[in-house]
């Protein structure tokens, strides 16, 4: 099942995808059907009682590491993001004036489904609640070699669109075998600029869950953004960027100033 969190008719609602429409699931609107273009899309994540942990991978595709002139890392290169950087599908991301190189990063986002501590690879999929698409924008003008990638590059307001759907892990595992069997693509104004495949991750989803849960307990709703493949290009104000992952969704974002 594909889950969404939307704003409509003055309130926030949980919904699921049904025959190309949104089906509201909770009282007082349970059963109500809406077109995909008549709602405001929020990040497809239920609120959590404490700060959500958002882990993001750098250089996790061999080709992208090469593109950025880095040798592949020997352990995951991870940074943390604040929840306030997340925005939903079909939203506007701000491009600061005067920057020269702002690029999207299409990433498979893993949403943790149950408390994970010292999880072994073999059991790691039991701890995944679902998958969604994240676009982890970076502004390379602001890169500094201090806790790189630094927050001014990676933790900016509006710079992490996520959604539209949270797809149940079981659906992906049943249909594709695993999340390592999905093609990724980004288009800018309709033109394909990035295409890759999750099989090319250096550290796959089970390896990442084992690695992180060895020292940090992950809670339901925590996120792991698994990195992006080759093919990032500068985008400008007005550009429509669509980051899509097979079976998971197409996440649309527009740059604004």
């Amino acid at each position: 099942m594909k889950h969404a969190r939307i704003a409509w008719a003055g309130a926030i609602h949980e919904a699921v995808e049904s025959d190309g429409e949104l089906l509201l699931t909770r009282s007082p609107w349970a059963g109500k059907r809406l077109k995909l273009d008549e709602v405001v899309w929020l990040p497809p994540l239920a609120p959590v009682p404490q700060a959500r942990t958002i882990l993001a991978l750098g250089l996790n595709y061999a080709d992208h590491a090469k593109e950025l002139a880095f040798k592949a890392p020997e352990e995951p290169l991870v940074f943390v993001k604040g929840e306030a950087s997340l925005i939903g599908h079909k939203a506007i991301t701000r491009r600061p004036q005067g920057v020269t190189y702002m690029h999207y990063e299409c990433e498979l986002a893993v949403v943790i489904g149950r408390t994970a501590k010292n999880v072994k690879k073999e059991n790691a999929y039991d701890y995944v609640g679902g998958y969604t698409v994240a676009n982890d924008y970076a502004i390379r003008d602001y890169l500094e070699n201090w806790y790189r990638p630094n927050f001014r590059v990676k933790n900016r307001d509006t710079c992490t669109p996520i959604g539209p759907w949270l797809v149940d892990a079981k659906d992906i595992h049943d249909k594709y075998g695993s999340p390592q069997n999905l093609s990724l693509q980004t288009t800018v104004n309709g033109k394909v600029t990035q295409s890759g495949h999750t099989r090319d991750m250096i550290f796959d989803v089970p390896t990442l869950i084992e690695y992180f849960s060895a020292f940090m307990t992950l809670q339901p709703g925590d996120l792991i953004l698994t990195g992006t493949p080759d093919g990032v290009v500068n985008c400008d104000v007005g550009d429509e960027i669509v980051t899509s992952i097979e079976g998971v969704g197409e996440l649309i974002n527009t740059l604004g100033d």
């Binding site: 991870v78 306030a84 602001y142 806790y147 630094n150 927050f151 940090m216 307990t217």
Partner: protein, 223 residues
């Protein structure tokens, strides 16, 4: 107990607990900056940092004052990072101050994000009382750090690189603090560039005038 509670996110009758994301500032004390300055132009940094250097303490690190903190078995001791922190209210304005111990596995390099050093389960001691910011002169607070009752460090916020409002202003250029978010204003090093250390069995106290002392005992056993 004061009846004045202008900020609903801070229940003055209850023990303080972070409601949002906890950010921290690196290299915000002049002493550590000066010690590292000669190498800042060299690889891998190739230049002194321009924007504030930040990190996040994830929610799995939160440990109440009075509770113990487990040191991973592979590590001999951990850094004590005594911090004064700001708690944010609505409209990205700081409304309260709290004491925090930003515990880290010692790491020399500030090149890559410090997740495996700073986001270990339990690695952030949190003071039990958040004080109204109007009652605290942030940029002149002095913290005293004691290990097993013996003073090992004094941290004076007159010695920061960025005074608190400058730090906030420079961070606000690219991100907005949400209600309940926290900003650690920086921890100082010792004259040798290291931080005070704690090992299994140590009791660490961080105190400042007007705050309940933050106390955590370090224990072993974490794999």
């Amino acid at each position: 107990m004061s009846k004045m509670n202008p900020h609903p996110s801070l229940n003055s009758d209850a023990r303080y607990w972070p409601q949002g994301t906890v950010y921290g500032a690196l290299l915000n004390f002049q002493q550590e900056w000066n010690l590292r300055a000669p190498q800042m132009s060299e690889a891998p940094h190739k230049g002194a940092p321009k924007a504030p250097v930040l990190f996040i303490k994830t929610a799995n690190t939160f440990t109440a004052s009075g509770d113990s903190i487990a040191i991973p078995s592979a590590v001999a001791d951990v850094d004590i990072g005594a911090n004064l922190a700001w708690v944010f209210g609505a409209d990205a304005k700081p409304v309260a101050c709290v004491l925090v111990n930003d515990v880290s596995i010692p790491h020399e390099s500030y090149y890559r994000p410090p997740v495996k050093f700073k986001c270990v389960d339990g690695f952030m001691g949190i003071g039990s009382n958040a004080r109204d910011i109007a009652q605290v002169k942030t940029d002149s607070v002095v913290l005293t750090v004691k290990v097993n009752g013996k003073e090992v460090q004094r941290v004076n916020y007159t010695d920061t690189v960025r005074k608190s409002h400058t730090l906030l202003s420079d961070i606000s250029e690219f991100m907005t603090f949400q209600e309940g978010d926290v900003l650690l204003l920086g921890s100082d090093c010792l004259p040798d560039g290291k931080r005070p250390r704690a090992k299994v069995g140590d009791m660490v106290e961080i105190s400042a005038e007007g705050f309940d002392t933050l106390v955590n005992t370090f224990v072993g056993g974490a794999a």
